[in-house]
């Protein structure tokens, strides 16, 4: 099954802090997996009232491939933002009592944003799960769910998410993990394939490079959750 997604704005932030917040060109495989589960109305989180949101360990398996259609006109823009944070050190500590544990310091940061974003996702999963994703999209699932699918920032909603027939898959650049000793290529990026929120040293990150093709190359398909997650 292939899905075409369009969003006026998108932003997929890698792990980073500081005054410049970049975006990867595509959502990471772990984020795409989260979007698909959200559409299917499958809760990924153990509990939402903890400081760290942990991921359940009984989640469905699937293979996914991520690509940018060749006719995409997406551009990267940079915006400034007043970022609320907890300062390092004692700066503004007198302000803390006024915010009851909320972030009490504001610092200007620059944020990269993808404008007029298009994405194609390949999904190999059991028929039941594919049906759930489609039913979820159509609002036909009689299941508890919350919120709406978003493109990296919960204000950035998708305009369109639709299933496209296999014969209509657009020519696209598919993001494939690169292996050791691969020659340099354009558009390389690091994407998170799985997150361990309790111990970030166990978070899995791979280096990807885009490859133009009519359909996802064999090595574009990734198993999620990873077998050793």
């Amino acid at each position: 099954m292939f899905l075409l997604l369009k969003a006026p704005f998108a932003s997929f932030r890698p792990f980073q802090s500081g005054s410049y917040r970049s975006t990867t060109p595509v959502p990471s495989p772990s984020a795409v997996y989260g979007i698909l589960l959200n559409l299917a109305g499958i809760e990924q989180r153990t509990a939402t009232d903890q400081p760290i949101t942990l991921i359940r360990d009984d989640l469905p398996e699937m293979e996914i491939a991520i690509g940018i259609p060749n006719d995409s006109h997406s551009e990267t823009s940079i915006l400034s933002q007043q970022l609320h944070n907890y300062p390092v050190g004692a700066s503004g500590k007198e302000l803390a009592k006024k915010t009851y544990g909320n972030k009490y310091w504001i610092a200007p940061v620059r944020r990269e944003v993808l404008v007029e974003f298009s994405l194609i996702i390949g999904v190999k999963a059991g028929q039941e799960l594919c049906d759930r994703i489609i039913k979820g999209l159509n609002g036909e699932l009689d299941e508890p769910r919350y919120g709406l699918a978003f493109a990296g920032d919960n204000n950035f909603l998708f305009d369109e998410i639709k299933v496209i027939p296999d014969k209509n898959i657009p020519f696209a650049k598919w993001y494939c993990p690169i292996k050791d000793n691969t020659p340099p290529s354009r558009g390389i990026c690091r994407l998170t394939t799985w997150i361990d929120r309790a111990d970030n040293t166990n978070t899995k990150i791979q280096v990807f490079a885009p490859l133009f093709s009519n359909s996802p190359p064999e090595n574009a398909w990734l198993n999620l959750p990873p077998s050793n997650a």
Binding site: P8, F9, L39, E43, T48, D49, P51, H73, E75, S77, L79, S80, Q81, Q82, Y86, G92, L95, K98, T99, Y100, G101, N102, K103, W105, I106, P108, V113, V115, E116, G136, L137, N138, G139, E140, L141, D142, E143, P144, R145, Y146, G147, L148, A149, F150, N154, N155, F156, L157, F158, D159, E160, I161
Partner: protein, 317 residues
């Protein structure tokens, strides 16, 4: 998550009236205060952040007598707010509607003892407001005077800068459009607060950076909304063109037709765009089941009735 049941989602695009704006003052290039802009199809467009709109909505909700936890304070040396107490989505409309996050370990512990959740997603999903017309590199010129020390003020004298300053300020004359969305399942827990939010959007004002020096009206001029069980809008949520039209309305049709692209009865359209429609277009949309309103306020009232069912109006302060 709340109870299991298929529910509707509300997707809305609001178009404002045009006016000159020099909204943003968070950044400058030497003595030039800039507009925030994004590049779209090779042109620059001014944008206004959702945070700016959320701040204006929060202050409008306070005027509408809705219980609020967070208040802006004006006598700190940076932008600042204060909370009355720990965030509480059951007690305060702003915590319920706009979410919050407490991550300090000690405070999280105290909140748990009070049976309060330390973080909450925003129910109100609002994207950037984007200018309808491209930025044309206009700037206006100002002079900030020196605060001079004289005999009259020598005991209370203060100053910021040592000289008079010349300032260039980027401006653009444009309307803005912004989309927002609400999931009914998230909203039905506190329908009276959602109705207040929709009323606040219908009279939104005070959306301003620039230390609110520039008055910029953000009330709806035209509105296109869809109330649907689907999880995405299914059309261009920034669909207004520079002339105020919304070309994708051509996709609306009768639900029971075989070639129906977007079912008209899921759409609610209001304001100037309806007032300017010719008779044929009005007839086609009416036959497709589209809900049409000449006045955007009436649209928001009607859509609140449909979305929330029978919750009474909120009272203004």
């Amino acid at each position: 998550m709340t109870e299991s049941k298929t529910n509707l989602n509300l997707f809305v695009c609001v178009l404002t009236y045009p006016a000159p704006t020099g909204n943003y003052r968070g950044e400058s290039e030497e003595n030039r205060t800039i507009l925030q802009k994004i590049i779209k199809q090779g042109q620059k467009y001014a944008v206004i952040s959702p945070e700016s709109m959320r701040n204006a909505l929060r202050e409008t909700l306070i005027l509408l007598n809705q219980p609020n936890n967070r208040t802006r304070i004006h006598d700190e040396d940076q932008l600042a707010v204060e909370f009355k107490e720990y965030p509480n989505a059951q007690k305060y409309a702003d915590d319920f509607l706009f979410g919050y996050m407490v991550a300090q370990t000690n405070d999280v512990k105290k909140m748990r003892e009070l049976n309060l959740s330390p973080k909450r997603d925003s129910i109100f999903r609002c994207n950037l407001a984007v200018a309808l017309s491209p930025y044309k590199y206009d700037a206006i010129f100002h002079q900030s005077p020196l605060n001079a020390k004289t005999k009259n003020n020598e005991k209370t004298y203060w100053k910021n800068a040592s000289t008079s300053a010349l300032l260039h300020r980027e401006v653009t004359h444009t309307a803005f459009q912004y989309p927002f969305a609400l999931s009914q399942r998230d909203c039905l827990e506190k329908p009276e607060w959602i109705r207040a939010l929709l009323q606040a959007i219908a009279q939104l004002n005070g959306v301003a950076g620039g230390h609110a020096r520039a008055y910029y009206e953000f009330a709806p001029r035209s509105v296109v909304a869809r109330l649907t069980p689907k999880l995405v809008a299914g059309y261009k949520t920034y669909g207004f063109e520079e002339d105020g039209s919304f070309p994708e309305l051509n996709r609306l049709g009768k639900r029971d037709l075989d070639d129906c692209d977007l079912p008209g009865d899921e759409f609610w359209i209001g304001g100037e765009i309806v007032r300017q429609m010719d008779e044929n277009e009005l007839l086609n949309l009416t036959e497709a089941g589209v809900h049409l309103f000449k006045n955007p306020d009436q649209l928001f009232d009607a859509i609140a009735d449909e979305f929330l069912g029978g919750v009474k109006n909120v009272s203004a302060a």
